[in-house]
Amino acid sequence: MVGGSSRDARRTERYLDGLMEAAERGAVEAPMDLDLDPAILLAARELRAGLVRVHPSFRFEEGLAARLAHTAGRARVVRNDRPATAAAPSVTPFRLSGVAAPAAPAATRDSFVAPAAPRRLSLAARPSRPLVVGGVGVASAAISIGAVYVAWRWSRASQSPMVRAVRAGRSGRASAFGHGRRAAVLHGILGVMS
């Protein structure tokens, strides 16, 4: 039964394919299978004649076309901006004291600006702010940050009870040691006086 149904379904499909192809060719009749159920044939023809393609109004079509064009324009602008800001390399000219910076042409995505030939600068024309370059700069920055962090940690009361206990013990030892030294000195002075 399932096999028969599947066979009928395939037969119907072949007829529908033929119906569509005949319509494309402009033919009136489509080739049909004689075993095809006449009721199916009639229904297919009715649907073919009755179910027409609907076209929206011209006003809607043009309005939507304009809105799509607007959206497409925005997408194009975004696409053009993206490589210029993120991917394409840019050259930032140094501000030179005493030397007027050459006017740079506006960079576009497709334009290629050749780098200017290096010029020998006089001492007066050197950059007013010294630059720390490379590893030296990184190392000095790291040391500064480390020192600041250690100072901050020492100045901040710790929440951990263990840390507080260690600090208290250390400060106690220091004060006890300080107290003993002071007593010995006093004893020495008193001994000398007596």
């Binding site: 149904s5 599947s6 009928d8 379904a9 395939r10 119907t12 499909e13 529908l16 394919d17 569509m20 159920d37 009721a39 199916i40 009639l42 229904a43 297919a44 009715e46 649907l47 073919r48 004649a49 009755g50 179910l51 027409v52 393609r53 609907v54 076209h55 929206p56 809607f60 079509e61 939507l64 076309a65 809105r67 799509l68 064009a69 959206t71 497409a72 324009g73 997408a75 194009r76 696409r79």
Partner: protein, 212 residues
């Protein structure tokens, strides 16, 4: 346009919209050609599903906006249409002019229409009779006959279950092949074939009852 990656001995034809799609990817302004090409099909699908011109317009707009913004993510998949083509002597089950862009577009349309229907479920649905006046013709008799046939077809289709109706609309209005309908509806080709066959039998019974 044939691909070099053949399945079996048959060459697989690539998406017939490939040129337009690539142009639209390079320059979104070129999407207009795809829009003009598929506007009536998408609108018809939405109209037959939603049965209201305004709702169909809204849905159509959403479909094309989503398609435009989602075009960079669209991937042509010719393999989904190449099924059983390698079996010797077997009839080709993939359409030679399969358009994967069209399938992708109609998948968007299906989702948009489903959302629209879900949102407007509480709203009463307008009758389908409005569509009778679509087929315009200078000949009054021809127009009247077409209108009557259209009405009968509309009413018969309107009584079909949802999945059969959708398959019928995609087949008769949008002239899709079984493989394309299967891709759009997310079903197997065999299931779509049986859906269409049963839909035609239902329509035939409906028309017979009307005549008697």
């Amino acid at each position: 346009m044939f691909s070099s990656t053949d399945v079996g001995t048959r060459p697989a034809r690539l998406d017939r919209d490939r040129g337009l799609v690539e142009a639209a990817r390079r320059d979104p302004a070129c999407f207009d050609a795809l829009y003009r090409k598929y506007l009536a099909q998408v609108y018809s699908y939405a109209f037959y599903e939603l049965r209201d011109h305004h709702a169909a317009e809204d849905a159509t707009e959403r479909v094309f906006m989503q398609a435009l913004t989602g075009l960079p993510r669209f991937e042509e998949r010719a393999d989904s249409f190449i099924r059983a083509g390698g079996v010797a002597g077997a009839a080709p089950e993939f359409p030679l002019d399969a358009s994967t862009f069209r399938v992708w577009l109609f998948r968007i349309a299906r989702n948009v229409v489903a959302n629209e229907r879900r949102r407007d479920r509480r709203r009463p649905v307008a009758p389908l009779e409005d569509a009778g006046g679509i087929a315009a013709s200078d000949d009054i008799c021809e127009s009247a006959a077409a209108r009557e046939a259209g009405n009968a077809a509309w009413q018969a289709v309107a009584r079909l279950p949802e999945d059969r109706r959708r398959a019928v609309v995609l087949r008769f209005v949008d002239e899709m092949s079984t493989a394309e309908i299967a891709e759009v509806l997310g079903r197997s080709e065999g299931a779509v074939r049986v859906l269409l066959h049963r839909a035609l039998r239902s329509v035939a019974a409906d028309l017979r009852g009307r005549l008697s």
